[in-house]
């Protein structure tokens, strides 16, 4: 069973719809016991970093997520991916989950349309089990902040001004996608299917 962590942020139903469509058993939950019982976790999220961290803290989920991420696959999506990092500078400096080394800051380059909204092409940087069976893929992004991390943790990126971290991980159980796989057509569904099969 995949637990989709429901902490009051974002359009979590889209993630559930996609997993249902793939026939992957999943549950929306904020119950720590269910996170422990699950085979895998998905951390979704849209909105602002500080507000989301605040909600995770209030739900008592920060420690549970950190503990579970050492034992089973965890996929952060969009803001959920950004939360995996050590800190963010959205509005103010704010501590994240610290599961991947790096930080999140505003996409700030002259002349760029912000948010980075729409379909962009993935450039594969390192092998990742999420990419199995994928060839050239466009995926759907919508964000104004991006993650800065070590090259070894950057599995794929896309070009928007400079590089935008698209798929990241800790080399073990933790994965994150800046784009929305649940809104990225066939390519996104394939990645979710790959995650469900891990």
């Amino acid at each position: 069973m995949i637990a989709i962590i429901d902490y009051g942020a974002g359009n979590i139903f889209s993630v559930k719809n996609a997993l249902d469509y793939l026939g992957a058993e999943c549950r929306l939950t904020s119950d720590i016991k269910e996170l422990e019982e699950a085979d895998k976790l998905i951390l979704p999220g849209v909105g602002a970093f500080p507000a989301a961290m605040d909600m995770l803290k209030k739900s008592g989920l920060v420690r549970a997520i950190k503990e579970q991420a050492e034992k089973k696959p965890l996929l952060g999506i969009c803001l959920g991916m950004q939360l995996l990092f050590e800190k963010s500078y959205e509005f103010e400096e704010c501590e994240g989950l610290g599961l991947i080394k790096g930080y999140v800051d505003r996409i700030d380059e002259p002349g760029l349309v912000i948010p980075h909204m729409g379909w962009n092409k993935l450039v594969y940087n390192h092998d990742c089990p999420l990419f199995e069976g994928l060839e050239e893929s466009y995926v759907y992004f919508v964000h104004s902040y991006k993650a800065f991390c070590d090259d070894k943790d950057l599995y794929a990126y896309c070009e928007y001004g400079s590089r935008v971290s698209a798929v990241v991980g800790d080399g073990k159980f933790v994965f994150g996608t800046q784009f929305h796989p649940e809104k990225s057509g066939a390519a996104g569904l394939k990645m979710l299917e790959n995650f469900a099969k891990m």
């Binding site: 849209v46 349309v113 909204m117 729409g118 962009n120 092409k121 759907y140 964000h143 070009e159």
Partner: protein
């Protein structure tokens, strides 16, 4: 590189896709869930449902359409029409929409843009605009489906929208809408140059080359059309092939 988006729009009334000219002689042309699915197969980058229902019952039907579409179409869905409050936005997003498009209500109450962006994030607040030229290089904003001139300068309005936290603008030209002679390039260019959020071109697409023209002559992020796709005069795929052949990056 970020791809230019092609967005088909479905006008929906009481749960049915309809098409009519100026709200007269409206005819039903299909089931919105099936139409959305078909557009998805053609490679649509997003799908817009525009709710032209006035009644409260109709709204509930619209939300069912969104719910059912979101179960089988995995590209972004936008819902516009009749969204006037934070509760309307919440309800629409919960049904499975990724974005809402606010138009007349945002002109009457600009705070709606700020409240929506603060609570749900800028990424889901698209502001739809109907505008018309009053002089060369000058346009004013209309509401109620292009029937009432609010006398607001278009460029002032788009700057205000951006400040309030809108994530995107869908710009419809009353002058070119329905004429099928191509998008309103001067208006489009003026708006794209005035803001740094994405702008969707709307109103006027009549033939294959109109989409590529908008992308080649302005920096708009996306182009939207309804009837051209409804009546199967063109498919999304054909439009993308034409764009690709002209060196425009599409998915």
């Amino acid at each position: 590189m970020l791809a230019k988006r092609i967005i088909p729009c479905l006008d929906v009334r009481d749960g049915k896709v309809v098409k009519g000219v100026n709200f007269e002689g409206i005819k039903e042309v299909g089931d919105p869930v099936e139409c959305a699915y078909e557009y998805n197969l053609q490679g649509a980058d997003e799908i817009v449902f525009y709710d032209i229902t006035a009644s409260h019952e109709g709204r509930g039907v619209m939300l069912d359409v969104v719910r059912n579409t979101a179960k089988k179409v995995f590209v972004p869905l936008t819902v516009g029409g009749g969204i006037g409050s934070v509760d309307d936005i919440r309800e629409t997003l919960r049904a499975g929409a990724d974005k809402v498009s606010v138009n007349s209500q945002a002109v009457k109450n600009p705070q709606l843009i700020k409240d929506g962006a603060d609570i749900f994030g800028s990424q889901c607040i698209c502001v739809g605009i109907d505008a018309k030229a009053i002089a060369p290089g000058k346009w004013t904003v209309y509401i109620n489906g292009g029937r009432i001139d609010m006398g607001i300068d278009l460029i002032d309005w788009v700057k205000q929208i951006e400040q309030l936290g809108a994530g995107e603008i869908c710009l419809n030209s009353i002058d070119t809408d329905g004429v099928r002679g191509g998008f309103d390039l001067p208006m489009l260019k003026a708006v794209v140059d005035a803001v740094s959020i994405p702008v969707i071109a709307s109103g006027g697409a009549g033939k294959l080359g109109d989409f590529a023209e908008a992308f080649l002559k302005t920096d708009c992020s996306a182009a939207l059309a309804a009837s051209l796709f409804h009546f199967k005069e063109l498919t999304v795929q054909q439009v993308k092939e034409d764009c690709r052949s002209k060196g425009i990056n599409v998915r």
